[in-house]
Amino acid sequence: MSSIAHDETVNSKAILSGPVESRDLPDWFREQQAVAWENFESIPRPTRKDQPWRFSNVDLLDLAPFKFSSELSDDDRANVLKYSRGLDEFAARLIFAGDQLIERNVVSDDLKKRGVIFQPLERAMIEHADLFRKYFMSQPAVLGSAKFAALHKALVSSGTFLFVPRGVEIEQPIEIFHWLRGEGVSVFPHLLLITDELAKVTVVEHFRSCDPRASGFACGVNDLIAGPGAKVTYVCAQNWGDKVVALQMNTTAVDHDASAMSLNLNLGSRYSRFESLSRLVGEGARSDLLAVAVATNEQEFDARTLQDHISPHTASDLLYKNALDDRARCTFGGLIRVEPHAHFTDAYQKVRNLLLSDDSEANSMPGLEILADNVRCTHGATSGQINEEEMFYLRSRGIPVPVAQRLIVTGFLNEVVRRLDQPTIADYLNQLIDRKFAHSQ
């Protein structure tokens, strides 16, 4: 893939020099960005002593070396396009590299006629300002990254806006690609997804690097809004290059009788922190939070979640599984919070770590804060290694150790992927997992 990572970007600005002027963004948005930049500068850098950053390698969050992406050439664009292959079938597609739109496959005329809006963020700011202003980063980042959410808000220049109107069901998934291109470059991906009553949609996001050995910085935010009775599925396949530092902050709001499911597959990057806030705002809301990580070498994955039950009769279910090899570290900090009056909550949280080497490390902090009664909340965290008996069984049937190990780990992770209940996406994710194993052996 290195063929598309040729000439070095020259003369781009460092991101710490602040928002870039002279972009075609509306004035009100630029004012908002200026305020966000002030916030970013005034909020202190996190330290490991801050509870939301406990166990996290905050030293890696030095942003001084990172710069904005420079303008891509036509060759670059063609190359990125060539490698942007994900699912075989999709309803629509947007491809970004260095926060620049490379290609746009719009939704069918039929969907367009029924009111589906699928367009770059900067156009939505102008054409759908009301919706945009109502939902764009409307929730404060409460899981520790307020500073980096402010940075994103100050520097975001493009992204995806998707609106699915009342009763519209989009059968095929919608795909979004974000590429990092060049050494030391940063991107600020954004997805603003709004579904109206009874709408249904699946979005698959791909995070990739053109040069797997180039350093880079990704700071993304997603706002996912599931309207009453809507059904939203969001899948993220994170496969940044080995030296990338990545932060992703997702907020999901689930209205009454709606259900949201998210799955995060973490394979790439040097350090990746993923914050997921799931707010169950209406009665009968349900949220499923899934994640799979395969961590090797020096990789560090840090996941922080909050299942916030605001209304009664809501349900949430979290399942995170990590397979760790070499000197990899995984941290999970999760909280189920049942607000006062959110009675009849049913919440579940489960983290399982599979340690494959003596130097790998798993930190788990599953938490509960219950301020209502008549609830059922449980959580479990386990850390262990491959069962000797399972291994013996496979070996006695002539399967060599590395293959047996791989089979067991894939089986362990597949439990999460299967929960998506979307076989084509599951197959695709399993392929990515297999490829990572093939790579590391």
Binding site: D50, L355, D359, N374
Partner: protein, 469 residues
């Protein structure tokens, strides 16, 4: 013991009384180097103890309050208004006859029965900060067991206690262990010689009986190779109007093959801040077990821990917390695995009543290159009212492939069906609730010594009174 139906009929104000204070020695309010020198002078501390206290004071003043993770309620403590040392001016008493009359009356109202005193091997009753009454049954003394107050221990047995004093919990462990290191007085120092199995539990009663008075006991128990000992502490305190602070440090050392069990029933009155550091060090094949029960106080922060230093050592924490109106029981456990084949077990049950808040905070650490370490953690919480609150914040670190750790927690309420079933059979709703709650903690309570489990069940019934209606 009263029968089941009558047990509910207990005078709720039993601990609510105070006799006139006749304190001969009083270090005054507030904390400075002067206070430390005053305490050291009164106690005739050896120079190294005075040094230790001064280092404690320095660390205490330097460290910030841990409010970045702990309750903001800590800020309500006014350290300048607290009396740090107070003693009735009498030395440790040997016989019951010598104990002052009004102190005896206090104990009587608390209902410590005569026969219980005889049954238990030794009673060290702490009235305010100095041991007033201390008596070890002859048999225990003959076995070579040393059971003395902290001042006496450091003065007369430095060869035994100095080696471990402040080693399991260093001065700078946290702000409150530093405070204790500066102003400690009272508490027990126990040494059990090799191979000695102390049959009866050693017991101490603690009381606070002066307004705004903080109690800073220091306890160090050393169980030498192959010995066995159980220590029990229980406390009730009269109610006062201003804030009282209790900040103890308890260090346990179990040498090779020793078994050490430490039992606490904490029932301070609801204005007490109870900020306690407790930790044990388990050598090869040794076992340390904390049984911790928290019913009283305004805010309790206590996380008994075991450092599993020797191969095949074992640590256990059994914890029951009951948080009623206005109370916050912030309890938990720490298990630090530092050798192969070590195992630990944490079982925590909490009940939140009214506006009470129960928190479990746990730490399990298994560093790399250890083999066959196991930890099991279970936390169950029961919520009684719609305003009750419970939290769970465990932190688990595991490195390497040879170990297994599991953690489970659940939150639930008393099942309506159970209550309905019992009401069908003629029990009142309150009785049914009380029975249900006792059932929830029963498998833990059963592990307590008999007289404590009876006391505990009674306390739970008392706390449940009027919470349902």
């Amino acid at each position: 013991m009263k029968t089941g139906t009558k047990a509910v009929d207990i005078d709720r104000n039993k601990g609510d009384f105070a006799y006139p204070e006749v304190h001969v020695r009083d270090a005054g309010r507030g904390l400075s180097e002067k206070t430390i020198h005053y305490i050291s002078d009164v106690k005739e501390d050896p120079d190294w103890v005075r040094e230790f206290r001064l280092r404690g004071l320095k660390t205490f003043l330097e460290k910030p309050l841990p409010t970045h993770w702990a309750s903001k309620d800590l800020e309500a403590i006014d350290f300048d208004k607290i009396r740090y040392y107070l003693a009735p001016g009498t030395g440790a008493k040997r016989s019951w006859e010598e104990v002052p009359e009004d102190i005896k009356r206090t104990f009587e109202r608390l209902g410590i029965p005569e026969q219980e005193r005889k049954f238990l091997a030794g009673v060290e009753a702490q009235f305010d900060s100095e041991a007033v009454y201390s008596n070890i049954k002859k048999a225990v003394g003959e076995q070579g067991v040393v059971f003395v107050g902290s001042t006496e221990g450091l003065k007369h047995h430095p060869e035994i206690f100095r080696k471990w004093f402040g080693k399991v919990i260093p001065i700078g462990d946290n702000k409150f262990s530093a405070l204790n290191s500066a102003v400690f007085s009272g508490g027990s120092f126990i040494y059990v010689p090799p191979g000695v199995k102390v049959k009866h539990p050693l017991q101490a009663y603690f009381r606070i009986n002066a307004e705004s008075f903080g109690q800073f006991e220091r306890t160090l128990i050393i169980a030498d190779e192959g010995s066995e000992v159980t220590y029990m502490e229980g406390c009730t305190a009269p109610k006062f109007e201003t804030v009282a602070l209790h900040s103890a440090v308890v260090e346990l050392v179990a040498l090779k093959g020793a078994k050490l069990q430490y039992i606490t029933v904490q029932n301070w009155s609801s204005n007490v801040f109870n900020l306690v550091t407790k930790r044990g060090l388990a050598h090869e094949d040794a076992e340390i077990k904390w049984i911790d029960c928290n019913i009283g106080s305004r805010l309790t922060m206590k996380y008994p821990g075991v450092v599993l230093k020797g191969r095949k050592s074992r640590g256990e924490v059994l914890s029951i917390a009951l948080a009623n109106n206005g109370q916050h029981q912030d309890t938990g456990a720490k298990m630090i695995h530092a050798a192969d084949e070590t195992t630990s077990n944490i079982i925590s049950k909490s009940i939140s009543i009214g506006t009470g808040r129960a928190t479990y905070r746990g730490l399990v650490h298994v560093p790399k290159h250890l083999k066959h370490c196991k930890n099991n953690t279970e936390c169950d919480a029961l919520l009684i009212n719609s305003t009750s609150r419970t939290d769970t914040y465990p932190a688990i670190t595991v490195r390497g492939t040879g170990n297994s750790v599991q953690h489970e927690a659940s939150v639930s309420q008393v099942s309506a069906e159970q209550i309905f079933y019992m009401q069908q059979r003629g029990l009142s709703k309150a009785q049914a609730m009380s029975l249900s709650v006792n059932g929830f903690v029963n498998d833990l309570v059963r592990q307590f010594p008999m007289e404590y489990s009876v006391e505990l069940k009674r306390l739970i019934e008392l706390e449940m009174e009027g919470s349902v209606g």
